[in-house]
């Protein structure tokens, strides 16, 4: 049947950067099915519309969180939501990171900007079972220190290797300077035995995945999160087509073996 949103209550709102906030949501009555990290919800802002948003946190209680950047009318409305407000959610939609497939292997997480948000629950899952995975590395890139989300939390993660790279440091910045791909040569991972999880803007995904493949990570183990215009999220509206893929159904998470030939065709 046609999916209708379910009311969720905003229980917490945290400003992440100048233009993004994280909303923590709890179902008012009935909860949606459990979301897996990497999947997304269609989030409805009353009177404005719906946008797809990946989950940046998933809880066993049915609660979840979304990190939202203010880039349009709907996200503007969602960013302005206050604790106690009600939103409508549909989902879960799309493919997930499928972290389980990386059991026994090194896990390399590469995030650009707000792309860290959908990777956050994956990182927490991997760290919750340290014996199940090899070395867990987290590489984060952002334009400026002010564009970083979850800054304190990043530092608290007991990973094998965590580095944050910014393009433009401010006076207080004592971390790395450069683009996130430059960290790929420094992080400890065995390319042939690594699963990489990459999320960020498309140019960053392309640059990162290309370099990982170049370093010997098998393409199907480079998992990237794709993005296209989405209206329905149920595979019926046709908007999110990327060649043979319906990104809402066959993505957002896909292997680089599938994504590379599609992202290399202009205007596909």
């Amino acid at each position: 049947m046609t999916a209708v949103p379910v009311p969720y209550l905003v229980v917490d709102r945290r400003r992440e950067t100048e233009e993004s906030v994280t909303l923590r949501l709890e179902p008012v009555a009935e909860a949606l099915d459990d979301f897996a990290p990497g999947q997304f919800a269609m989030v409805h802002c009353f009177g404005r519309g719906e946008i797809p948003l990946s989950v940046s946190s998933v809880q066993t209680t049915g609660g979840l969180a979304h990190t939202i950047r203010n880039v349009g009318a709907v996200s503007d409305g969602l960013c302005a939501a206050r604790v106690g407000d009600l939103l409508g959610l549909r989902g879960p939609y799309g493919t997930s990171w499928e972290l389980d497939r990386a059991r026994g292997r090194d896990v390399l997480v590469v995030a650009g900007g707000i792309g860290l948000a959908p990777l956050r629950p994956l990182i927490l899952s991997a760290l919750a079972e340290p014996e199940a995975y090899g070395r867990v590395s987290v590489l984060v890139g952002a334009r400026t220190p002010g564009d970083l989300i979850a800054r304190e939390e990043i530092e608290s993660w007991p990973t094998a290797y965590t580095r944050v790279m910014v393009d433009w440091p401010d006076k207080e910045w004592r971390g790395d300077v450069g683009v996130v791909t430059q960290l790929l040569g420094r992080a400890p991972f065995d390319p042939a035995g690594t699963w990489a999880f990459v999320c960020g803007p498309e140019p960053m995904i392309r640059a990162t995945a290309r370099e990982l493949a170049d370093r010997g990570v098998p393409k199907e183990r480079i998992r990237v999160s794709l993005e296209r215009n989405m209206r329905c999220a149920t595979g019926h509206c046709g908007h999110c087509q990327l060649g043979p893929l319906l990104v809402c159904r066959d993505g957002p998470v896909a292997g680089w073996d599938v994504a590379e030939p599609l992202l290399s065709v202009r205007e596909l």
Binding site: M1, P7, G238, H239
Partner: protein
Amino acid sequence: MTGTEAPEALAVLDRDGLDALVAALVADGRTVVGPTVRDGAIVLAELASAAELPYGWGVELDAGRYRLVRREDGAAFAHSAGPQSWKSYLHPARERLWSADRTPEGDLSFTADEPEAPSYAFLGVRPCDLRAIAIQDGVLTGGRHTDGGYGKRRKRALLIAAECTEPGATCFCVSTGGGPAADAGYDLALTEVVDEGGHRFLVRVGSEEGARLLEQVPHRAADMVTDASARAAVDAARDRMGRALPPVDLRTLLGASLAAERWDDVASRCLTCGNCTMVCPTCFCTTTEEVTDLTGDHTERWQRWDSCFDLDFSYLHEGPVRSSGRARYRQWLTHKLSTWHDQFGTSGCVGCGRCIAWCPAGIDITEEVAALHAELETEKETER
């Protein structure tokens, strides 16, 4: 049907029988939709009686051209696809999906829009359109998620096919794997015969509902002559297609042609108006709109047809992914003939020819595909 197969229930209706059929459907409370003449075209509309069928009208088609012509024989179904298809009824251009209400206390509720689906009877569904309906069934109800409104309308719809005896100059169904005969997916299939034996319709029964309906109207058992004439006319139609797609693996051809120069050529003629997507019986794309009333406490989510030729269709962040006409035409054609297989397991083209007739620039899908094929072959030659 070939001679070796078990004969199915065959009957013959005359024009009075067809009148009675429509009357029975109306009496059953069904909304009967069929072809009729309006505004210089054969359109689909709600019919009160079979008298509204386009008796004595045919069509003359070409790329960018559609004209009604008078027919001497008075046939009702001797025309090919008009500007509309059945998706106008099953997958309407505008549809409310759900509405949301906010109370002064801050409560929020969402209500699915679930109006009683009309009980349609489609009269005169062409075999190409039968296949188009099956394709949309796959897209809208065959996956993990179901378009509820479509599903309900489709389930309640009765399909009375009219086999094709008069293919148009823009028809190419045979080259898409189809043909002028109705082979599946109908409740009743009619084949119109007009000769010295009179004006009559050979009827094949495709479902129990169809059989039940036939029982309600005066008919007679099929005679050899009517049966043979009907078969002969349909068989002849198979060889009279006005156009054809090249007989190659189109899925592979289009998949290998993403960088073809032909796209620039077609883009120089294409107006990106989206007519082809509107008239295409399988094109299903939609967008959504938020409509809020003046109180600001009631908002509705509407779905409406969209077209991959629209610039906003692929809008991401600050602009469209497919900004050029070249990319948008390539998307449409490649989706139709190639990536549709990846997404839904079939081709998206049934060869009805509507996109050719209703293109204001006269762009002909069969000609474009042939050119892409020729370009790829030349490329292969050069590589050898």
